[in-house]
Symmetry: C2
Subunit: 218 residues, 2 copies
């Protein structure tokens, strides 16, 4: 087994260190699978965490919002934490004290920086739009005015760690001979059929990539 160390002390996994992963392939695959990032910033009122769409290119994670977005404004040039989690199963132990979940998560910490250059902004917005399903190229591109109204932050992936739990419950040896059940119950997320917008003009079909989502697991 190849041991890869944490990129920095502050992203080293402290609890359940045997579940820690620092190789970028694992980090990227978990980011690829996630739907939203929970983004934390520090404010004068304490920490705040909000769910946000995101994209990444293997080097940086991208977030976007309106220019007046308070959380992104707070994160611009400041320390930010973005956490992406997918839950795969409930883990039911003989002793509910040892209940757990199987999950994959990535924690990214670092200083976020605002992208101002229009080409870089467009590239980042495309990564966010295409993150779950590619739909940028089949839609209408952004106007200069829309770009001006948008704040895009980039967070380097240099300080990222992953944590992956798989398998059954970790019960006490003495509980294995008891009468209680232990095991897992998987959680599967599936895409439904594309539903056209109420105001969609007659005769417009969903692009292939979107139509292909129906019934697919996320």
């Amino acid at each position: 087994m190849v041991t890869i160390d944490a990129a920095s002390e502050r992203v080293r996994v402290r609890r359940g260190a045997q579940r820690a992963r620092y190789d970028s392939q694992v980090v990227h695959s978990i980011l690829d699978a996630g739907l939203v990032a929970h983004v934390g910033v520090t404010t004068a009122d304490g920490p705040i965490v909000l769910p946000m769409a995101y994209g990444h290119d293997g080097e940086r994670l991208y977030l976007h919002g309106a220019v007046g977005n308070a959380l992104l404004g707070q994160g611009d040039g400041a320390e930010v934490c973005a956490t992406v989690t997918s839950v795969d199963a409930l883990v039911i132990a003989r002793s509910p004290f040892h209940d757990s979940m199987n999950y994959r998560s990535v924690v990214v910490r670092g200083r976020a920086e605002r992208l101002d250059e229009p080409t870089a902004k467009v590239a980042a917005l495309r990564l966010v739009a295409d993150h779950v399903v590619a739909n940028w190229a089949t839609g209408r591109g952004p106007t200069d005015e829309e770009l001006r109204r948008t704040l895009v932050l980039a967070l380097p992936l240099t300080e990222a760690s992953a944590k992956v739990r798989t398998g059954g419950p970790g019960d006490e040896p003495s509980d294995l001979v008891g009468p209680h059940w232990g095991g897992t119950v998987s959680l599967v997320t599936t895409f439904g059929q594309p539903e056209p917008a109420e105001d969609l003009a007659v005769g417009i079909e969903p692009p292939t990539a979107i139509a292909a989502l129906a019934g697919r697991r996320r």
Copy 2:
């Protein structure tokens, strides 16, 4: 329409205020539906956000971990933010710039306090264990030693806000006559069949509540 104001300025929803909800019934139903809370605390190294199991009783949200858990230790007596999000659909706009998601989220901000009294700790641990599926009463209860090794934090729900997005894309009027598709793709999370632990003794069946999860939507 009854307008209910935010409990405090710092949990007032700033962006998309028309999607804000402050009534406790909505907040509780979103907490009931969630799987994990993304919990943020402030450290000397900046904010950190980690996914955690949780429970609630309508008054407080409960988190637990080992006594040495760094995040919970940091949160003990300090300002904490716990955010719970369920994603219901991708929202694909004619202009991917307006892509969105349908989701339900709750943000709770406040000072977390450690529970030391054993009865209160057990009650909180039971709420966490029973949050997704009731399994506390059908398992082996905690020992005094296990309780001593566990840190339980309570976060008041007095400062909580919810945000709910439903419906189709919010495209520009000029895009409604264009050639591009717009609509939604739902995301449904379903429980699988309970899988016994590899070391489960022969003849032990899952409790009714766990067996009943199979095929059920979360």
